[in-house]
């Protein structure tokens, strides 16, 4: 940097660096301000231009994702995505990460993650109707893992249970790649009336800017910049920056906001998430093309001696900022006082295009809004495509019997039941939960259109993405689409939560670019746009990046009387396999759970996702379900055909007898070929009709066998009983957590 670079009093190059701004970014700050910024202003630039708020590394690629469809009401750019679900209703949803805070303090980190995503949804006028989460932990053997699982799960439960939003689904993986860098991704789905959606763009010069919710303390100052830097050994000392959540206040805030939203008082509203008052006020003013004056001494404070810098950067939870129509202040105040929440008019809108910050009448900060927002950096970071994985050696496959392999997979960390986790979540509150956790997708009935329900799920297979980001990205979207299809729902849209390592490394950036490409391919082929999302980069500890994890959350719609689940329903029902490859039930063992858990080899390319095939099979399955011929349905994923059948047997507490075309090899039984579904129908006549339909549609179909008995039989060979399957499946996690 040139020697003439000016600094305000008390600031030097170190202070600038501590605020996460590069030299060239500071140059831009100077040119925007026309003078050296003071510490408060520097802090504001710092959080506004952090990776977390500015998406500076990812923006270029996120723009390539499809975001349009006739049913999309608001795509990315708002607090959450909004889609039309008929009956004058919309679904509002988003997934967001809270990775770094959850590693430092798992209970509070996870809890405030849930709180933040709930606010993103009810800010838009939607009542939250369901929560989901996607969690990734380190290897079970890592000494920290048990403590992290316990803290994260009780944090999610502690917060979500209290606010009274059912937690209906999610996914969990264990992998050494997440030692030191767990992922906590939380998703909320809400429902609103189509004509009652609230946005953040401010309007009306002179209108009051109002602060509601909890008081501001010194929580998480610089949390947004923390979420954008790599971890190192000293990170444990950052503990004080983690915020503490208060779900009770959140519950009151939901009720108070929704009550106020039923009136005509609100012009615009924005939650105070990462970067608190700074980003919320900037966002509102910038989107409205206006300026704002804030009198910071009016902000309700929790601690003595707080200064403007702390007030602007605090990440205290359960706070919202809103612009009210003139004359509606008393009405709004009475609602918030009824719910015993803070209410303070802290400023007003102006036509200056500037943010003026005052402290007891004195101007302490003055920044131009649009230049700051528009000049936020956007990088085209160098990237290297991921080298395709070579086919893995298949030596050692079939070294143990299929019976042993099945029990081993069912009790492996990634194959075991997650009951120990989801029983700590209230998945019933509201009385609309139709499909509970443990199935392909959760199904929650619509309170205001009770003949219909929303289906929802969250999925990603990080080992696929690591081996081939393009194919893995595709697979994540396809699996979400498939899980929604398997319950009978029409998939509508997704939210993406992109968790990656340090984007300044071309190899990592290449993973990001590849995953975006794969997601784009699948979204286009499946008419499944991205309507919201979140990016979490720098997930590295001591230079070691996490496996690339683009977690995808999806929402679909279904008639309540058409919903199916995966449980075998009655003895003697034909079992059909749809979408299998030519000449076999399955064959792709590269990159499979079997190869990793049974053979001990994590290698090979992921299974190919043929999107035309995916669409053809899925559309047929959905049609069959809606015609009422399907009695149970399950898509095949980790662990292939036999794991899928075991899931169905466990859910229905009933055995099954199947006959394969060839010998029961691991390739056929545990291969992870994509785009396959197993379904049952009531009788042979129905089976014949389905087979004819499939043949006519060009979908491969095979009658596998018949339900019944107490065990799983393959080609006449006796397999484990359902009781033995259950013991294997349900045993691992409680034993691990209890140890």
């Amino acid at each position: 940097m040139s020697k003439t670079v000016p600094y305000a009093e008390g600031i030097d190059a170190n202070v600038v660096r501590d605020h996460g701004l590069s030299e060239s970014e500071y140059e831009t700050v100077l040119s925007i301000m026309g003078r050296a910024p003071n510490l408060l202003e520097l802090g504001i630039f710092s959080v506004m231009w952090s990776e977390h708020c500015s998406y500076k590394s990812s923006k270029k690629w996120l723009k390539t994702l499809p975001t349009q469809a006739p049913w999309v009401v608001h795509g990315p750019g708002e607090n959450a995505g909004v889609i039309d679900i008929g009956d004058d209703l919309v679904a509002v949803f988003k997934m967001e990460s809270h990775n770094h805070p959850s590693y430092i303090e798992p209970y509070q980190g996870a809890a405030t993650g849930v709180g933040g995503i709930l606010r993103d949804v009810f800010t838009m006028g939607a009542r939250p109707v369901a929560n989901l989460n996607a969690l990734r932990f380190g290897a079970p053997e890592d000494p920290n893992t048990r403590h992290l699982v316990s803290g994260v799960v009780s944090g999610i439960g502690g917060y979500g249970n209290c606010v009274g939003v059912p937690c209906v689904g999610g996914e969990v993986n264990f992998h050494p790649g997440y030692n030191g860098n767990i992922l906590v991704n939380a998703m909320t789905v809400g429902v609103a009336k189509r004509d009652r959606i609230f946005l953040s763009a401010a309007a009306g010069v002179g209108n009051p800017v109002v602060y509601v919710g909890s008081r501001t303390g010194r929580d998480g100052i610089h949390g947004a910049t923390m979420a954008s830097t790599e971890f190192n050994e000293g990170s444990e000392e950052k503990r004080p920056t983690v915020q503490v959540g208060d779900p009770f206040t959140e519950k009151l805030l939901i009720e108070a906001c929704l009550e106020l939203m039923a009136t005509d008082a609100i012009v615009s509203i924005q939650d105070m998430g990462a970067a608190g008052l700074t980003s919320s006020s900037f966002e509102m003013a910038s989107k409205g093309g206006l300026g704002v004056v804030l009198d910071l001494e009016r902000v309700p404070m929790r601690e003595d001696g707080m200064n403007p810098y702390e007030l602007m950067l605090s990440e205290s939870q359960e706070r919202m900022l809103m612009v009210l129509k003139p004359g509606r202040e008393d009405l709004a105040r009475s609602i918030f006082e009824k719910w015993e929440l803070e209410f303070a008019i802290i400023g007003h809108l102006t036509d200056t295009g500037r943010m003026e910050l005052r402290w007891h009448g004195e101007t302490v900060g003055d920044l131009p809004i649009d230049p700051l927002a528009q000049a936020s950096p956007e990088y085209d970071r160098p990237w290297q495509p991921t080298v395709p994985a070579r086919p893995a050696s298949m030596a050692g496959v079939d070294s143990i019997t299929w019976q042993e392999a099945l029990l081993k997979l069912l009790s492996s960390p990634d194959g075991a039941s997650r009951r120990w986790i989801w029983e700590q979540y209230d998945y019933l509150v509201g009385g609309n939960t139709m499909q509970r956790p443990g199935g392909d997708a959760a199904v929650v009935r619509l309170e205001d259109a009770p003949s219909k329900a929303l289906a929802m799920t969250a999925d990603c297979t990080p080992r696929y993405v690591e081996a081939d980001p393009v194919m893995g990205g595709r697979q994540a979207v396809a699996e979400v689409w498939r899980n929604l299809t398997a319950v009978g729902a029409v998939p509508l849209a997704i939210t993406d939560n992109m968790n990656f390592g340090n984007p300044e490394k071309p190899r990592i950036m290449g993973q990001f670019v590849g995953a975006c490409q794969g997601i784009r391919d699948a979204c286009l082929a499946l008419d499944f746009p991205v309507v919201s999302g979140n990016v979490s980069l720098y997930n590295e500890t001591n230079n070691q990046a996490i496996p690339p994890t683009p977690a995808i959350g999806g929402v679909g719609i279904v008639s309540c009387d058409k919903v199916v689940d995966l449980a075998f329903k009655a003895e003697g029902q034909p079992v059909l396999l749809l979408g299998a490859p030519e000449g076999a039930e399955g064959h792709w063992l590269d990159c499979s759970l079997y190869l990793r858990e049974i053979v001990g080899r994590e290698a090979g390319p992921p299974p190919v996702v043929d999107l035309a095939h995916e669409r053809r099979v899925g559309d047929l399955v959905r049609a069959l379900i809606s015609e009422g011929v399907v009695t149970a349905c399950h898509d095949l994923s980790d662990g292939g055909l036999l794991m899928g059948l075991a899931d169905m047997a466990l859910a229905g507490n009933m055995g099954v007898r199947i006959h394969l075309e060839g010998t029961p090899s691991a390739f056929a039984l545990f291969g992870e070929d994509q785009g396959r579904y197993v379904l049952t129908v009531a009788n042979e006549a129905e089976a014949t009709a389905v087979i004819e339909r499939a043949v006519a549609t060009g979908v491969s179909v095979r009658k596998l066998g018949i339900t019944g008995g107490t065990e799983l039989m393959v080609n006449g060979e006796e397999g484990p009983t359902v009781a033995a399957l259950r013991e294997a499946h349900e045993g691992w996690l409680p034993a691990y957590m209890g140890a």
Binding site: N161, C162, V163, Q424, V429, G431, R445, C560
Partner: protein
């Protein structure tokens, strides 16, 4: 039957109760705010719904039990009115001294949400008349502090006076300390007041009123109330 549901800051199952009462064929309940000092004219049934009143801070139910509306409920109950407390509502009624005993942290310390087997202890009450004594039913629970405790004398009275409405059981209907999910003494899941017109229970009958949404084993409780109070 005129039903009034109490609403405290943090109550979150009031909609579930409203649904259950209407599905059972009752009129839509009215909602009473915690600062109100009187119940609506002609109230037949007061429901204290589940949730986290006042965030469960201090002790679950402690602060709600000392709120203005609870004085009205106490008088209502003393005059023979019917009161149903579910989950946090049960905790509130014990904290208020309207029902005996107390509910402490589950034996395993964790929150538990699952369907549990229960055995009906008595059919002699406006709540349990739709069941048979000894009948096995299945209702969901969703709580972290459902571990019922009381002194020996109180437990003996509850038994002697046939006031244990529900007990936790295993799949075969056998009641034992080992299979009791949360550590409750005598596997108690729900108790009646001395005049049998106040019931507190941890399981959620209101989440078991429709096939496809948790079964229908909770429905007889609401139907029985409707028959008795209409």
């Amino acid at each position: 039957m005129k039903t009034a549901i109490l609403l405290f800051p943090g109550t979150n199952r009031e909609q579930d109760i409203i649904k259950a009462v209407t599905v059972a064929g009752g009129k839509r309940p009215s909602v009473v705010w915690h600062r109100d000092t009187a119940l609506p004219e002609g109230t037949d049934l007061v429901v204290v719904a589940g949730g986290y009143s006042y965030g469960d801070y201090l002790r679950p139910g402690a602060m709600a039990a000392r709120s203005p509306v609870l004085n009205a409920v106490r008088t209502f109950a003393a005059d023979g009115g019917c009161v149903l407390g579910v989950c946090n509502g049960f905790q509130i009624l014990t904290e208020a001294g309207i029902l005996p005993g107390a509910l402490v942290r589950n034996r395993g310390l964790q929150f538990i949400c699952r369907d549990v087997n229960l055995v009906v202890g008595t059919e002699k009450s406006p709540f349990t008349g739709g069941y048979r004594k000894g009948q096995k039913i299945r209702l969901p629970v969703a709580h972290q502090d459902g571990n019922y405790t009381a002194d020996a004398e109180t437990l003996k009275r509850l038994e002697d006076e046939d006031r244990i409405a529900f007990r936790y059981a295993d799949a075969n209907g056998v009641v034992s300390d080992e299979t009791c999910l949360n550590g409750s003494l005598r596997s108690i899941a729900g108790v009646l007041s001395e005049n049998r017109r106040v019931l507190g229970l941890m399981p959620h009958p209101e989440n078991s009123i429709e096939a496809g949404f948790g079964g229908t084993d909770g429905l007889p409780l609401f139907k029985s109330l409707l028959e008795t109070l209409s």
